[in-house]
């Protein structure tokens, strides 16, 4: 439904891509906050990430997995975006009961996200 509406509105064909095909990533922790650095594989894809992978979109993606807000920072020099996911780690560090207490694989969890880009 959403896809066809896009098509009518812009008059251009869209396609769905997964972030794993456009980017790589690494994640880590600071207390109860996980950070995910999302890095475009090709320079041409960095503006695509900036446009589509907004803080709000990432917050929706991780709904149910994080308790706090999402912040985004831009690093055009490294064609990277840095996301802070607050309240992601069940207290973090030694407090956390999670397998991924240090947020090491939030990176690939973000790469599951699908975005719609111009064909």
């Amino acid at each position: 439904m959403r896809r066809s509406r896009h098509r009518v509105k812009s008059g251009r064909r869209k396609r769905t891509v997964r972030l794993v095909d456009l980017a790589h990533a690494r994640s880590g922790d600071k207390g109860d906050t996980a950070n995910v650095g999302l890095i475009a594989r090709h320079a041409a894809d960095y503006p695509v990430l900036v446009r589509h992978v907004t803080a709000a979109r990432v917050a929706r993606h991780f709904k149910g997995m994080i308790a706090g807000p999402v912040e985004r920072f831009e690093l055009p020099n490294l064609r990277a975006l840095n996301f802070l996911l607050h309240g992601a780690l069940d207290g973090g560090g030694t407090i956390s009961l999670k397998t991924d207490a240090q947020g090491k694989v939030f990176s690939t969890a973000l790469l599951r996200m699908e975005i719609e880009v111009d064909r």
């Binding site: 790589h24 990533a25 690494r26 994640s27 880590g28 922790d29 600071k30 207390g31 109860d32 906050t33 950070n35 650095g37 890095i39 594989r41 993606h61 991780f62 149910g64 997995m65 920072f73 831009e74 690093l75 055009p76 020099n77 490294l78 990277a80 840095n82 802070l84 069940d90 207290g91 973090g92 560090g93 030694t94 407090i95 009961l97 999670k98 397998t99 991924d100 694989v105 990176s107 690939t108 969890a109 599951r112």
Partner: protein, 457 residues
């Protein structure tokens, strides 16, 4: 251009690959071996060891490691910077001096000792003087956990390392010095960088951040193109080749495995990052949005353009306090209906805990193989019928030990009195574990005086 200074990373954390420092020292020319040992709660473990034995409280396995390395370090004139000293850098230095004498190196080594970071004995005085040491994440004042404190340390910067090297130290053993200070210190010493040369200090800080996690910038834990990273069994740990103008290259010894690429180095740069414009250290503030990277040949990435800003008036303090107890129990359920069986077992377990009247701050259930790493994102795409096995993993946390202890006795009974096709309990009953939690805070710089001593061998 002046001579390059080569700083090699030998340990990315306490417990990293024991072969790495040896390979860094013997695999080619280097000037410094940098070894980071301290994670956020490591200090509390060391504080406990010191309270049992006043000669302990540092990374004990640093001593046998140095026993192996010392003759080579002396022969090749390689210096060492490390925070292996933990809460007792003096005792660590004495232990190394003893080993050096035994190896016949008397008169050939000076060991610098950096202390002054340990604030545990001064906490009441600081609180009384109006320093709240409020938790940076929650805002709570430190006095709320005063009677449960196990360690309190300020993060020192590069300055005391520069002082120790200036006094002729060959090995600098520190307490809680920042990971990046262990790399920046040698660069400030060698190039005579001033304490307010903010761009240069930022460059040295970025160099330190890049190599502080060891092989994580040279092919280890690297996602991009990971299947084509060669020979990880023989992975080369990173080396900074730095110049006086603040430019540097990251590389590794010839003939080693792994890979140093712009993409791989970028993964390390964004690791554990907050606001990239403000990477704050005691030495200054580095702006990661100014870093320019270029591949300069195989396994060689050049850094330039790095800008910095003046240091803040505060030091970060990391305290550790006793938070409570936790335990994690696991069981494995097999096909058919593996996930359904694990879910049923979780429901049974939770009902029994409730019926016993046990109260927990948190009960967390994960189904390993299904949702432990990617949560509902993975579950959505899973063909649940085909899951061959699932590990049920249930964790509990409480301020009290008793309910956690009782929980550990509720896992094994499920083997015979819960859902079927269950195995994987060979590890026995889980053990309750004390939670020592981390408390980040800020303190005025003027309250902390770093101290530098020399131990002659």
């Amino acid at each position: 251009m002046s001579r390059a200074i080569r700083i090699a990373a030998g340990q990315g954390f306490w417990g990293d690959w024991l072969e790495a420092p040896w390979r860094q020292v013997t695999g080619g020319p280097i000037d410094y071996l940098m070894m980071d040992y301290l994670a956020e709660v490591t200090m509390s473990i060391m504080q406990k060891q010191k309270s049992r034995d006043p000669l302990l409280g540092y990374a004990k396995d640093f001593v046998p490691l140095m026993e192996r390395l010392l003759p080579e370090l002396v022969r090749r004139r390689v210096k060492v910077t490390t925070n292996a000293g933990g809460v007792n850098p003096r005792a660590c230095a004495e232990a190394i001096a003893q080993v050096a004498r035994r190896l016949g190196l008397a008169g050939k080594l000076k060991i610098g000792v950096v202390s002054g970071d340990d604030l545990l004995g001064r906490v009441d005085q600081l609180l009384a003087a109006g320093h709240a040491l409020a938790n940076l994440d929650t805002g709570r004042p430190l006095r709320d956990v005063r009677d449960r404190l196990q360690s309190v340390n300020a993060y020192l910067g590069a300055a005391p390392i520069v002082a120790a090297l200036g006094r002729g130290a060959d090995i600098v053993i520190t307490g809680r010095v920042t990971d990046t200070g262990l790399t920046l210190g040698p660069l400030m010493h060698e190039f005579g960088w001033a304490a307010d040369a903010w761009d240069l200090l930022a460059a040295g800080t970025v160099a330190g951040h890049t190599i502080e996690c060891g092989a994580q910038c040279s092919g280890g834990n690297c996602l991009v193109d990971w299947q084509r990273i060669p020979d990880l069994a023989n992975v080369g740990y990173p080396i900074v080749e730095a110049y006086a103008d603040g430019t540097f290259e990251i590389t590794k010894h010839a003939g080693t495995g792994g890979r140093v690429s712009v993409a791989g180095v970028t993964e390390q740069l964004v690791y554990e990052m907050g606001d990239p414009r403000s990477y704050i250290t005691p030495d200054g503030v580095a702006d990661f949005t100014t870093i320019e990277l270029r591949q300069r040949g195989k396994d060689r990435v050049r850094f330039s353009g790095i800008r910095g800003r003046p240091a803040t008036g505060s030091l970060k303090v990391s305290a550790a306090y006793s938070y409570g107890f936790k335990a994690v129990g696991t069981l494995v359920y097999a096909w058919p209906d593996a996930l359904q069986k694990a879910r049923a077992a979780d429901r049974v377990l939770r009902q029994r805990l409730a019926d016993l009247g046990l109260e927990f701050e948190t009960i967390l259930t994960e189904f390993v193989g299904v949702d432990a790493t990617h949560g509902p994102l993975a579950l959505r795409e899973l063909q649940q019928r085909d899951v061959p096995e699932v590990q049920l993993r249930v964790g509990v946390r409480s301020p009290q030990r008793d309910p956690v202890e009782r929980f550990t006795r509720e896992i094994a009974p499920l083997i015979l009195n819960g859902p079927p096709s269950v195995t994987g309990f060979a590890g026995g009953r889980p053990k309750p574990e004390e939670i020592v939690a981390y408390w980040p805070a800020l303190l005025d710089k003027t309250e902390v005086q770093a101290c530098v001593d020399l131990v002659t061998v």
